[in-house]
Symmetry: C2
Subunit: 590 residues, 2 copies
C-alpha cells in the first residue's frame, strides 16, 4: 500500500517564506528526511513495527554513551543557555527558587531564563507568518530534523530524564528519548497526512448546458490556529509532551512549552534544539519557546486563558485538566490525566510465563507509568492453569515470588524500578504498607541504589482487596500512582469484566489486560473495553508488557473515558490544529 494521499501536488511549497539563508537548508532537509517521512506515512496506515531511531546502544556511535553523560554533567550547576525573547529574570538554581532536585537525591543546580508572557506571546505570534506559509512538507522536514537532532543526543536526554523523573536508565533512554522521539515523528506523520488530504491546487470543471464547461481554479491552504501551549508533566515530560508539541508545530502553529517545575531540563533541551534547527532553516526560532515557572506562579493557569493561546495539550492531574477545559474556552484543550487500570487473571496455559510478565509489568518504574495495571482482578475461587487449579491466595503468593526473583539482586532491581517522583507517592506506599488499606499480600522492599549514595527505590507492594467490600471498592477506584497494587477478589470472570468496565468508565483507564484461555471471557472483555475505550492486551507473555505502547502502531488513549481527551496518536489528534482555507478563481473560457 502506498502512503496516503501523497501526490506530487501535495509537496508543492509555493508559498514558502522569502529568500534568505534558509532556502538551501530547507531543500536539503526535505531531501534528507523525505524517505523517512514517507515511510512513517506508510507505517501509520499499516501499523507495523518500525522506527527510524535505534532502541539499543548498538545503534549509536561508539562513545555516544560517555559523551552523552558528559554532556549532561556539563549542564549541571550553571544557567541553562536559552536565547529567547522577553527574559525578566531566572528560575532556580536553588530549590527554593524553583530549581530541580534529582529523585536520586541531589539538586541539579540549573537555572532557566524566566520570561514575561506579555513579551513572549507576541513573539510567538509574530514568529508564525513564514512558518505558516512554508507548507506541510517543509514543516514536516524541519520537525523531523529537530527529532533526529534530539535522537543524536539520546544519552544526554536519558540522563536528564533519570534525574528529573526518576527513571532507571533504560526506561529513560526509551521513554525519555528514543520512544518520545518516535511519538514526535508519529505526530508529524499524522499532521502531514491530514494537511495533504486535500491537494494544494485543483481545477474544478463543471459541465454546463451547451457543452462548454464552467471552470474555476482552486487553491487550498492549511492555516494554523495560533499559539499552542504544551503543559508538561513530571513522569514523562517528553513522551507525553512531544505528540502535542510536534502536532501543533507541524501544522504551522507556534508552541509555548510550560514544563512541570520539577522536570524542566528534558523540555528545555528540546526547546533549545528546536530553536537551533528552526534558525538554521531560516525560520524564526521563536516558533518554540520555554515558559519556566517561578515557585507559586501558577503559570499554566494564567497562560492557558491568554487569547493568543488556541491549542492546549495538558498532561497531569484530572482536577487541573478539568479546570483548563472549564476556563480556557478560547482554546481547544486536550488532556491526559489519571488512570485506574485493571487486569483480569482468569485462566492461563502458561502460568509461570504469565507471572513473570506480570511481575515485570508491576515492577517497571515502580508502578509510576500511566499504563501500570493497578488492580489485578482474580476470581475468589481461583484460576485454572497449566499447573492445575490455583487458589486466589496461591496466585498472589506466586506473583510475590516472581517479584522477589525478578528483583532479588539490587543492581537488577534498580535497573527495573525507579525512584519515587514525590513525597506523596512515598507516603502512599508507607500508608499501604501499614495494612491500613487492606492486608498486605506482598510487602515492598527498599533498595539502596548502588550508583547514587543515599538514594533508594521501592519494589511493588501488593494489597489484598475484595470487590464485594464497599470500602475496598472505593480504594481500588482511586488512582494509586506508584508501587501499590491491589489483588482484588471478584466473584467471577463476568464480575471482574463488569468491574473493569465500570472502573474505566468512572475513573478513566489507559490499559486493560486479561489472561484467559476462554474465548467467551476474551470476547466479553473485548466488548467491555470497546465500550469503555481502553486498549486491551490479551495473554501477554515474554518481552512485551501491558505497560508498553508501540509507537506508530498502538493507540494510547481513546478519549472515550475520563483518562483524558487526547487520542495518541490518530487523525483526530491533529485534525483541528489547523483549518484549510480556499480561494477559487474564475478561469477565462478558452
Amino acid at each position: 500500500m502506498t502512503a496516503t494521499s501523497v501526490t506530487a501536488t501535495d509537496t508543492k511549497t509555493t508559498r514558502g517564506p522569502a529568500a534568505g539563508a534558509g532556502p538551501a537548508a530547507r531543500a536539503d532537509l526535505l531531501r534528507r528526511h523525505r524517505p523517512t517521512l514517507e515511510r512513517a506515512l506508510e507505517v501509520i496506515s499499516t501499523r507495523e513495527s518500525w522506527s527510524p531511531f535505534p532502541e539499543g546502544e548498538e545503534g549509536y556511535p561508539p562513545g555516544a554513551a560517555a559523551d552523552g553523560e558528559a554532556a549532561f554533567r556539563a549542564l549541571l550547576d550553571r544557567p541553562f543557555d536559552l536565547d529567547q525573547p522577553g527574559g525578566d529574570g531566572a528560575v532556580g538554581p536553588a530549590p527554593e527558587q524553583g530549581g530541580e532536585i534529582s529523585p536520586y537525591g541531589f539538586p541539579l543546580g540549573v537555572s532557566y531564563p524566566h520570561a514575561d508572557a506579555d513579551r513572549l506571546l507576541p513573539a510567538l505570534r509574530d514568529a508564525r507568518e513564514g512558518w505558516a506559509a512554508a507548507g506541510p512538507w517543509e514543516r514536516a522536514a524541519v520537525c523531523a530534523e529537530i527529532l533526529f537532532r534530539l535522537n543524536s543526543r539520546a544519552h544526554e536526554l536519558a540522563h536528564a530524564a533519570v534525574h528529573t523523573s526518576g527513571h532507571n536508565f533504560l526506561m529513560a533512554f526509551h521513554a525519555g528519548a528514543v520512544h518520545a522521539q518516535d511519538r514526535g515523528l508519529e505526530a508529524v506523520a499524522y499532521a502531514l497526512r491530514e494537511q495533504t488530504r486535500i491537494p494544494y491546487e485543483a481545477v474544478w470543471s463543471k459541465p454546463m448546458p451547451g457543452g462548454r464547461p464552467f471552470v474555476l481554479d482552486k487553491t487550498f491552504t492549511a492555516v494554523p490556529r495560533g499559539v499552542a501551549l504544551v503543559v508538561g508533566n513530571r513522569v514523562f515530560p517528553a513522551w507525553n509532551g512531544y505528540p502535542g508539541l510536534f502536532a501543533s508545530l507541524a501544522t504551522g502553529n507556534s508552541v509555548l512549552v510550560k514544563p512541570h517545575p520539577r522536570a524542566v531540563l528534558p523540555l528545555a533541551l528540546t526547546v533549545r534544539t528546536a530553536r537551533e534547527v528552526l534558525r538554521e532553516a531560516g525560520f524564526s526560532p521563536d516558533l518554540v519557546c520555554l515558559a519556566a515557572e517561578r515557585p507559586g506562579e501558577e503559570l499554566a493557569a494564567s497562560l492557558a486563558v491568554r487569547p493568543e493561546v488556541r491549542l492546549i495539550d495538558y498532561s497531569g492531574t484530572t482536577a487541573f485538566g478539568c479546570r483548563l477545559v472549564r476556563e480556557a474556552g478560547q482554546a481547544r484543550v486536550r488532556t491526559a490525566t489519571s488512570a485506574v487500570n485493571a487486569l483480569l487473571i482468569h485462566s492461563t496455559a502458561h502460568y509461570r510465563d504469565m507471572l513473570d510478565n506480570l511481575a515485570f509489568s508491576l515492577a517497571l518504574y515502580s508502578g509510576q507509568l500511566c499504563t501500570s495495571p493497578q488492580n489485578l482482578l482474580i476470581p475468589r475461587t481461583g484460576i485454572a492453569t497449566d499447573e492445575g487449579h490455583k487458589s486466589f491466595a496461591q496466585v498472589v503468593s506466586d506473583l510475590g515470588d516472581a517479584l522477589s526473583t525478578l528483583l532479588a539482586d539490587d543492581g537488577t532491581a534498580c535497573a527495573v524500578l525507579g525512584a519515587l517522583v514525590g513525597p506523596d507517592v512515598a507516603a502512599r506506599v508507607e500508608h499501604a504498607a501499614t495494612g491500613a488499606v487492606g492486608p498486605v499480600a506482598v510487602p515492598s522492599r527498599t533498595v539502596a541504589h548502588p550508583d547514587f549514595p543515599g538514594a533508594t527505590v521501592r519494589t511493588p507492594l501488593v494489597v489484598r482487596l475484595d470487590a464485594d467490600d464497599p470500602a475496598d471498592l472505593a480504594t481500588l477506584k482511586t488512582e494509586w500512582l506508584g508501587p501499590v497494587f491491589f489483588a482484588v477478589a471478584v466473584d467471577s470472570a463476568a464480575a471482574g469484566t463488569a468491574l473493569l468496565r465500570e472502573t474505566a468508565q468512572e475513573c478513566g483507564a489507559l490499559s486493560a489486560g486479561v489472561h484467559t484461555t476462554s474465548p467467551e471471557v476474551e470476547e466479553e472483555l473485548e466488548r467491555a473495553c470497546a465500550a469503555a475505550g481502553v486498549l486491551l492486551s490479551v495473554n501477554l507473555r515474554g518481552d512485551w508488557y501491558i505497560t508498553q505502547s508501540a509507537v506508530y502502531s498502538d493507540l494510547h488513549s481513546t478519549g472515550l473515558n475520563p483518562s483524558g481527551d487526547a487520542p495518541y496518536c490518530d487523525g483526530a489528534f491533529v485534525a483541528d490544529r489547523f483549518r484549510t482555507v480556499e480561494v477559487r478563481r474564475f478561469r477565462e473560457p478558452s
Copy 2:
C-alpha cells in the same frame, strides 16, 4: 490517484449484527453503493466536479415533478406518520400548537408526534449496538441508500423546502434536496475515509535480539461517541443539517433530529426515510429519531445538556450557539451561526458581466443565504473598468440597473427571489427602506407571487454607507439577513481589504469576494482571507456565484472566525465523532 486508504482489509465487516432479515439486504446495499462511495472517496481528494444526484429535471423520470408535488400535497392537513418510541402527544397542526405556516401564506396543517425525551433517548442509546458493530462500509452503504431514496423524492422535498423556508422552487430543488443530499454523501465519504485510515486488523512483528520476532495480532475498531443531536435552522434545514446527521450516523452514533419549529417537514421526511431504510437493512430504526417541539418548550436547550448526548451540530443564531458551547460541556458542539460577508469591487475587465453576476448574487433567495455578500466595498474614488473609470455612484447605479433588468418580469423575479422567512426580516427591510440606516441607493420592490395568492417577495435594497463613519461602520458590522445590502465607500483597496478582514474576524464570515485586475490587490485579499478563515471568490462571472458552494470541492466554513466551528466538510468535521479502540493479542511463537 486511487481512493485513500481503501484496501480489502478495510471493508471487512466481521463484527456485523446478528443474522436476521438484514444480512442479505445489507450485502445488496454494499454491492449497489460501493462504486458510488469509492468515487466519492476519490473526489473528496481531487476536489473535482461530480455528483451522483442529477441537478436538472432531465435527470429524473418523466412524471417525477407531478408525482413529487402530489406527494407533497398529500402530506398537508393531516398527522405526519412517524412510528417512533416515546410518543406523548402532538405538535401542531394549528399554528398556535406549533404547526408550520408556509412563507407563501398558508398553514401546512401538519401535526407531528411529540416524544418524551426520557423514553426517546434510551431508545436512541439502545439502538446503537448492532449499528456500531456493523463496520464503516456497511454503515456507509446504508447511509448512501437513505440519500438515494431521499433523492428519489427530490421534488416532494423541494416543495417541502419552498413551504417552510420560502425558497423559490429551483433553489429548493437544489439546496433543499439535491445539494443537501450531496452534502450528506460528502459527509459519509469523509466518515468512511476517517474510519478506514487504520486497518481493521494488523500483524505487529518486532525484531528481537536472537532473531525470532515478537508478534502481536492487533484489531482496531471504530467506536461511536453516543447520541448525536442535530439542531436544524429555518433557512436551510437539510443543507445545514445533513452533514452533521450523516457524519454522526456513518460513524456509528444514533442521531436525534430537532428541527426548527417552522421548518419541520423537510427533516421529518428525512427521518422517516432513514428509519425505513434502517429497518429494511435489519438495524433498529430508532437510530434516527425526530424531536418535534411544542411552542415555548426550548427543546434544543434541554436536550443539549442530556448526558446521553455526546455530539451536537447546531445551525442558527450566534447567541444560542454560544449558549450551547457554554452549557453542553458533556458534548462536542459544532456551530454554524451568523455571517457578515463582504466583497471588494476594485477593478474589472468585464464590467457588465460583473454587474450581472453581482445582481444575481444579491437577488438569489432575497439575500437570505449565509453566503450572501452583505457589504459591497467600493473605493470612494471609483473603479477602473473595461468601459473606463466608473465613479462610486455610477457603480451603485449600474448595479441597480442590473438588478432591475434581472428582476423586471414578476415571474422571473419570483423564480430568483424568495419569500422572507420571518417578520424580523421584513421589518429590517422596511426600516432600511425609510432611509434611517443610510441613503437608499437602490429601492426594494415588492413583487406579488403569481402562484400563491396574497404572497409577495422582495427585491434587494441597497443602502449607501461610508466606512469612515462610525455609525455606518456599526451598521455594516451587523448581520442583515435578507434583501438589505450596503454599498460601502472605502478609501482604497487596502482599506477595503482591511475592513473585510476585520469584519470577518469580529463578526464572522462564510464568503468573501473580489473583483480586481490587480495581482497585488488579489494577493492581499488572499492573505486577509487566509488570516480570517474565509473562502475567497475571485472575479466570478457567468453562471457561478459567490453564494454557491460546490459540494465535494469547496470548503464552506473554516471554524477560524466567529461564523461557526463546523468546517464543512473535511476530516476535522468527522474525526472526533468516533474513536478507535485496539485489542492486541499475544501470538504463540511458531
